[in-house]
Amino acid sequence: MLLISCPNCGSRDETEFHYGGQAHVAYPENPNELTDREWAEYLFYRDNTKGAFAERWLHSTGCRQWFNMLRDTVTYEIQAIYPMGSPRPDAAGKVTAETGTASTAADSTTTGSAAPSIAATSTFPTSSTTAPEGATK
């Protein structure tokens, strides 16, 4: 059972939240140019990191805002909580939680777990076709 510190509401039980999967997955900027392989990467392939993993959470029964979280997938230790659109904090240098509020920017969506984040492109070197992170060319 996780105790999650919502940037807006403070520490709450895991059951108040909804898991949104890997963070920083950019929506393709030029969808028409994507190959089938690149679409597959965007739709179905996500990192499955054993260790520090950046993921999105929605405080669904609280403030209903999305935020990002850095969590260890082995120990389940929550290492950082940071706003949507912010770069991923360094996994080694722990960033304190409750810095800033969950953003209401375009990527702070409330449409469900499949909703893509579109504001994180700047933090990750993506390919020239702006395919999602990790897409093969």
């Binding site: 898991y19 179905f44 996500r46």
Partner: protein, 406 residues
């Protein structure tokens, strides 16, 4: 309920050899799937210079942690074909392996609690029959006759509006299944090497030619990955990605009881499933934790939710005690179907993505995967489950269709 004695605990069912410097094929992962693959490689394809490498103890992963339910009442043709083939193999394997692993065909019920459930369930019964899978629709009275401890009154939160029933489905003693395969593999010359963790791969261009392990490097012509929750970790070492997310899944058991629960009962809607083990424990499972995890433990609220539903459906459970809970790491795909086939790396093959339901598939996973490894080409039963389906869009979408997550 079976009155069988449990088979003897096997102290010396297999040798524990040192790894050789090279093999014709190496299977990574000594769970049910890895052992079944090695068995069929030896038996059907005459490949006996092979090794199964297991980082822990034999079949100590999900194979030792699952709730042992076996059924083949899946919706889509591709799934029905592979799971029904598995069920047919389960029916002959105790004799073939000369080891009684207590496969008990006591039937599986999938309860319907809403009108939507009822319609979806009847549709699945129809689909099952068309695919030659035994299936029946039961009304609440018939449900009660088959499982008298179920509460079928209509004033509860999750009223039983009927159930699908597969009489040939059931449970088997999972540890003994693994030991049965291991013993036969060993007899045919397969090396089973425990405490041997694969830490990397040796490649010649895009072709795999060896595995690196904590017991040294082993040369091999072919590699088959059967590492369930860790498949994507291994794929990353080999330089490719898998559309897999690993999640914690829990199960629990009560103390021993007299035989009270004659069949297997699963609930699509509430997501709880219950059977009574041969010794007498009530064995229960539920859904996965929503988040990714490798910690082999799960969230307490999942147990709370499943117990609330179980006690309502089976009022006599209110006086039972939970004895143990534990977790495994299951490898889920977005269409809730396994991935069995070739990979982007030459001579490397993958069997994964069975998620919460791969125990039942063990014999067919082994048979088809062995075929794929030996010939380089998929068997007709695993062909639809290739990695390419995520690119072509030919998904086998069993989520919600398959009667409980899997």
């Amino acid at each position: 309920m079976s009155t069988h004695q449990l088979p003897e605990h096997p102290d010396f069912l297999w040798r524990n050899p040192e790894p050789k410097s090279s093999y014709d094929a190496v299977i990574v992962g000594g769970g049910g799937h890895g052992l079944a693959t090695a068995y069929f490689l030896a038996k059907n394809h005459g490949m006996t210079n092979i090794a199964v490498l297991e980082k822990g103890w034999l079949a100590g992963g999900n194979m030792a942690r699952n709730t042992t339910i076996i059924r083949s009442n899946y919706l889509w043709d591709e799934s029905a074909a592979i799971y029904e083939h598995a069920l047919k193999l389960w029916e002959i394997l105790p004799e073939e392996l000369e080891y009684d692993f207590l496969f008990s065909q006591r039937g599986v019920m999938n309860l319907a609690h809403t009108l939507g459930d009822v319609r979806e369930s009847m549709r699945r019964v129809g689909a099952n029959k068309l695919n030659g899978v035994d299936a029946e629709w039961l009304d609440p009275q018939q449900v009660k006759e088959l499982c008298p401890i179920l509460n079928i009154s209509d004033n509860i939160r999750y009223p039983v509006m009927g159930a699908t029933y597969q009489p040939r489905a059931g449970i088997a003693k999972h540890d003994h299944v693994a030991w049965a395969f291991a013993r036969k593999c060993d007899e045919m010359g397969v090396d089973i090497i425990q405490n041997c963790e694969v830490t990397g791969f040796v490649k010649d261009g895009n072709r795999v030619v060896g595995v690196k392990t904590n017991q040294g490097t082993i040369n091999t012509e072919k590699v088959g990955l059967c590492a369930a929750g860790h498949s994507s970790v291994l794929a990353e070492m080999a330089g490719f990605r898998l559309p897999i997310q690993s999640h914690p899944l829990q199960a629990l058991v009560s103390e021993l009881h007299e035989p009270v629960h004659p069949t297997v009962v699963m609930s699509n809607h509430v997501h709880v499933y219950v059977s009574q083990a041969h010794k007498g424990e009530l064995v229960m499972g539920a859904g996965v934790d929503s988040y990714n995890g490798y910690g082999q433990r799960g969230s307490f609220h999942v147990i709370e939710h499943q117990m609330a539903a179980a006690v309502e459906l089976f009022p006599i459970f209110a006086r039972a005690h939970v004895l143990r809970t534990w977790g495994g790491i299951v490898d889920t795909t977005l269409d809730a179907s396994p991935i069995v086939g070739n990979t982007p790396v030459e001579n490397m093959f993958v069997n994964c993505g069975w998620g919460t339901g791969g125990f039942k598939g063990t014999p067919a996973a082994g048979m088809t995967f062995a075929h794929n490894i030996a010939t380089g080409e998929p068997h007709r039963l695993n062909k639809p489950f290739a990695l390419e389906r995520f690119e072509t869009g030919a998904l086998i979408d069993e989520h919600g269709a398959a009667a409980v997550a899997h």
